[in-house]
């Protein structure tokens, strides 16, 4: 190799020390800074998560991934807690199972998890009986939760379990927001904000049980800063955020993922070259996403990529009258 005047390549990253810790009795050696969750995955230990996503900075709010670290007073979120040399971790202890079970029951008793992939299995695995908190309280009126005032106590309806049930927000043609299904995982806020899109059309508003995802003054999306990239939909773990097309097909009972195919291609618009995964049902594109692991997109798209594919399904010249040549 020839000499160069200066270093040309990628800035040197410090080589990380390797540390060894013990998880469920197995010793594992990982790079310093590796999270407990990542270390568990190298061992094939499954940890359930809701608010964690590889492409987002961990917010560790759902607490489903908690594990027991010996010597610690409370459980640790495995998604964000880094392993340390000599750390002894238990992922299946009774304390852990109890916390996970209660977290799942808290969510299942307050949020509609019917479209959360894998949730039914999790609830069964942890023997959850969310109904033990009482029957669900009646659904809130449209806008009621958006108007809740921080720190001020609404009278408890004795005998009912409070929920986040509320009408679906359908304020535009491209996607719906069904916050009755929102577990407040913050992923949409992160994706709309600093982690990816930096549009900040939505944020968490209010606090406590009244905390909710909101635009400013809870205005409709069409009055907000939303640019309809749908990167929030891409990260939503519960189906609270859903393309309008999918929402309508589900409502009509025609959405059938078992017959859908997914083909990766390249977006037809600008020259960035985003990978589009086209979800096709019956030779019709029904949804476009991008793979999380794609280095260019990290699962993100813009409005054109996510929603702008419909033209191929519109009238085409073969459908039209022949041109009037001479």
């Amino acid at each position: 190799m020839t000499a160069t005047l200066v270093h040309l390549g990628r800035p040197d990253r410090t080589i990380k020390a390797r540390i060894t810790c013990t998880i469920d009795g197995h010793a594992v050696t990982v790079d310093e800074g590796t999270t407990i969750l990542a270390a568990c995955r190298t061992l094939g230990i499954e940890i359930p998560t809701l608010c964690f996503l590889e492409t987002l900075r961990p917010v560790n709010v759902c607490r489903l991934c908690v594990v027991e670290v010996e010597g610690a007073r409370v459980l640790a979120p495995s998604c964000s807690r880094a392993t340390e040399a000599g750390m002894v971790v238990h992922t299946k202890s009774e304390r852990v199972r109890h916390a996970r079970r209660l977290v799942l029951e808290f969510l299942a008793s307050s949020v509609d998890l019917s479209t959360t992939p894998g949730m039914a299995d999790l609830l069964a695995e942890y023997a959850c009986t969310p109904a033990r908190f009482g029957p669900p309280a009646p659904q809130a009126l449209a806008g009621e939760r958006d108007a809740a005032v921080a720190g001020h106590h609404a009278a408890t309806e004795i005998g009912f379990a409070a929920t986040v049930a509320q009408p679906v927000k359908t304020d535009n043609d491209l996607y719906v927001r069904d916050y009755a299904k929102c577990v407040l995982c913050y992923k949409c806020v992160e994706a709309c904000g600093v982690d990816h899109q930096n549009t900040f059309a939505i944020a968490v508003a209010g606090r406590g049980f009244n905390a909710r995802i909101s635009t400013e003054l809870a205005v409709p999306l069409t009055d907000s800063a939303c640019v309809y990239c749908g990167n929030c939909i891409a990260v939503c773990p519960t189906g609270a955020l859903m393309p309008r097309a999918e929402f309508d097909m589900r409502a009509a009972g025609t959405w059938d993922e078992t017959v859908q195919t997914t083909t990766d291609t390249i977006c037809p618009y600008c020259g960035v070259g985003c990978t589009l995964s086209l979800h096709v049902q019956g030779n019709t594109i029904v949804k476009a996403t991008s793979p999380l692991e794609n280095g260019i997109t990290l699962g993100n798209l813009c409005i054109k990529g996510r929603f702008g594919w419909q033209f191929v399904q519109g009238p085409r010249p073969v459908d039209a009258a022949p041109p009037a040549g001479d």
């Binding site: 409370v74 807690r81 921080a150 900040f200």
Partner: protein
């Protein structure tokens, strides 16, 4: 950044209020007038603008103070000035109880209905106010567009930190300037008069009279009620600013050596050794370092810091200056809860006086030491007393606690090494340096050195702040305060503490003494309840407090505090789902999950008092008491 702003315009007084805080806008790109040739061709933005985000809460507060609420136009103007996306600003504004996002009257009477006040007259006050039919300020009336801003309104408040003068109220009169006063011993008649526009009168904390006034053994409170808190000269005459020059002479490491030798631990609740914390920050290579005085005293039943801040403000300034010198901080913040307007005023005055006397600023005492203090006021959020939530709040965000590690000494405010000390902790710095660390360590007990402040309230004849060496007995303290002979229970440590039965009060008031009794000294709350008290009502209020004050970030606390309150209500009404034992078992399950899996201390302790009420006091079970 490319933010999108609605067309809503700020009213002139809103604009003026924001401009008074931020200065007039310097370009059309942040709300100024168009026309300058330079502005048509260049603009500064990016990081410079993003670094102004920390001004968001003060800017929202200035709107609140000027007109009593934050209108859309006002919010949008703040967003334009600071280039903050409106949704983010909305998220922040709706997080804090004392920032209103729907119209409120100019005058609002905030009546404390918390555990210290509710059975000491607050319920009667609230009943009287309800009977007036005046606007409940936080309930956006259906016709709020027609709200008469000039007609005072009222609302419930969590603990105002005036339990020694229960029942308490905070009166806020928005305007220029905004007038805020904390009032004690509020009667229904007085409350009605306030709604009719009566002048609020003097702030209840303006004169300090201690139960132990004149007691020569007082250390932290020695100057309280003696010194003129508005006079630097008076402070100097009472031994002030003797230690700062000596500390500079000794050098940072020597100061830390003394503090370490004193075995001082934090008085905010976590009891972390202060010397170790200081040393950890001093040795961090990342710069700058920040010092924060945590004066967000909001634990129900706690009011000791209020007394230190209002009665001896210069001592806090001097202590902070020494702490900053020792830890290499050039910038300090006092995060002061919103409900202490007079404390804020006195601290501001003390800081100004100190700066004028070269005791703060770029060249302290001509010794080349640089340090200054900024006061940041809370906006109605208990959670902001949690140190990482406090950072978020100063940074202009929702007060949501961060996951630890990383710890503040490594990555705190603005991601920099940060010392956070409670007011009372800092107040110990001067005595330690005066006495010497070793001598100080000989006071109190071997494991709990020095003295401790206790906030006596409830069923006691002489409520107030008491200072005792660690190790004194709780019974003696209660006797000193004149506890009711029919004492039934004591809430020790605050809402996050535990109830003790009347037969459990012989424990020594030390960290180890509390620990061995499965209790905590917490923030020094000693709230006494006698037979007249409806303890079920008190426990329900505590449960409501945690539900109301949960930031909502993590599932165990956000939903757990709701499920806990629901179960308690079912038990209180005798409408259980699976019988009382089933509900009590459910409470335990909820409580353990909150304790084990919540992000921060709020959720982790939200079950503590409830658990003790059930297990020690026998609430709902008939056992125990």
């Amino acid at each position: 950044m490319d933010i999108k702003l609605s067309q809503a315009a700020a009213a002139p007084d809103e604009r003026a209020a924001v401009d008074a805080l931020l200065g007039p806008p310097d370009s059309p790109w942040v709300g100024g007038a168009r026309g300058a040739a330079r502005d048509a061709h260049t603009a500064v933005g990016g990081r410079v603008m993003r670094e102004r985000r920390h001004l968001l809460v003060p800017a929202l507060q200035t709107l609140q103070a000027r007109i009593g609420w934050i209108s859309e136009g006002g919010l949008i103007y703040v967003c334009e000035r600071l280039q903050v996306p409106p949704a983010e600003a909305w998220g922040v504004a709706t997080f804090y109880a004392l920032l209103a996002t729907s119209p409120r009257p100019r005058r609002v009477v905030h009546v404390c209905d918390d555990v210290g006040c509710r059975s000491r007259g607050a319920k009667a006050v609230l009943a009287a106010l309800e009977a007036t039919g005046a606007a409940i300020a936080h309930e956006p009336a259906a016709d709020h567009m027609h709200l008469d801003a000039e007609r005072p309104g009222w609302m419930h408040s969590p603990c105002l930190g005036l339990c020694d003068q229960a029942p308490a109220a905070l009166v806020t009169d928005a305007g220029s300037p905004c007038d805020e006063r904390l009032l004690g011993h509020v009667t229904p008649e007085r409350a009605r008069a306030l709604l009719d526009g009566a002048a609020p009168g003097a702030d209840a904390t303006s004169v300090t009279v201690l139960p132990q006034q004149g007691d020569a053994s007082l250390v932290l409170l020695a100057r309280a009620g003696v010194v003129d808190p508005t006079s630097l000269e008076s402070y100097r005459a009472h031994g002030g600013y003797v230690e700062l020059p000596k500390a500079i002479d000794r050098g940072a490491e020597a100061v830390i050596r003394e503090v370490t030798a004193s075995k001082l631990v934090g008085r905010g609740g976590a009891a972390f050794p202060t010397g170790r914390k200081w040393d950890a920050v001093r040795t961090q290579t990342a710069t700058p370092h920040y010092l924060i005085c945590n004066a967000d005293e909001s634990e129900p039943g706690t009011f000791k810091d209020r007394v230190l801040l209002t009665a001896d403000p210069f001592a806090i300034v001097e202590s902070m200056t020494i702490a900053a010198f020792a830890t290499g901080c050039e910038k300090g913040f006092i995060y002061l809860r919103a409900e202490y307007p007079l404390a804020a005023q006195r601290m501001r005055h003390a800081i100004d006086q100190a700066r004028a006397a070269q005791l703060l600023g770029d060249d302290i005492l001509g010794r080349g030491v640089r340090f200054d203090i900024e006061i940041r006021r809370g906006a109605g959020a208990y959670i902001c007393g949690e140190e990482t939530a406090l950072f978020e709040s100063i940074e202009g965000k929702r007060g949501e606690p961060r996951s630890k590690p990383p710890f503040p000494v490594h990555s705190g405010l603005f991601g920099k090494p940060t010392v956070v000390n409670n007011v009372e902790t800092l107040a110990n710095v001067l005595p330690i340096l005066r006495m010497g660390g070793e001598a100080y360590a000989k006071t109190g007990t071997s494991q709990s050195t020095g003295t401790r402040l206790f906030c006596l309230s409830g069923a006691v004849a002489r409520p107030g702040v008491y200072e005792l060496p660690f190790g004194a007995s709780l019974r003696a303290l209660l006797e000193q305060a004149g506890a009711s002979p029919r004492l039934r229970a004591v809430l020790l440590g605050g809402a996050a503490g535990v109830f003790l039965r009347a037969d459990e009060i012989d424990l020594p008031l030390s960290l180890e003494g509390a620990r061995s009794a499965d209790a905590t000294l917490g923030s020094g709350v000693v709230m006494a309840f006698d037979d007249d008290e409806d303890l079920v009502d008190i426990v329900l209020r505590l449960a409501a407090f945690f539900r109301d004050e949960s930031c909502g970030q993590c599932v165990p606390c956000r939903v757990g505090t709701v499920r806990q309150e629901e179960a308690l209500h079912r038990l209180a009404r005798g409408r259980t789902l699976a019988g009382a034992p089933g509900e009590i078992a459910l409470l335990e399950e909820i409580g353990v999950a909150m304790r084990d899996a919540s992000i921060c201390g709020l959720g982790q302790t939200a079950y503590a008092a409830v658990e003790s009420a059930v297990k020690r006091l026998g609430l709902f079970t008939g056992a125990g008491a």
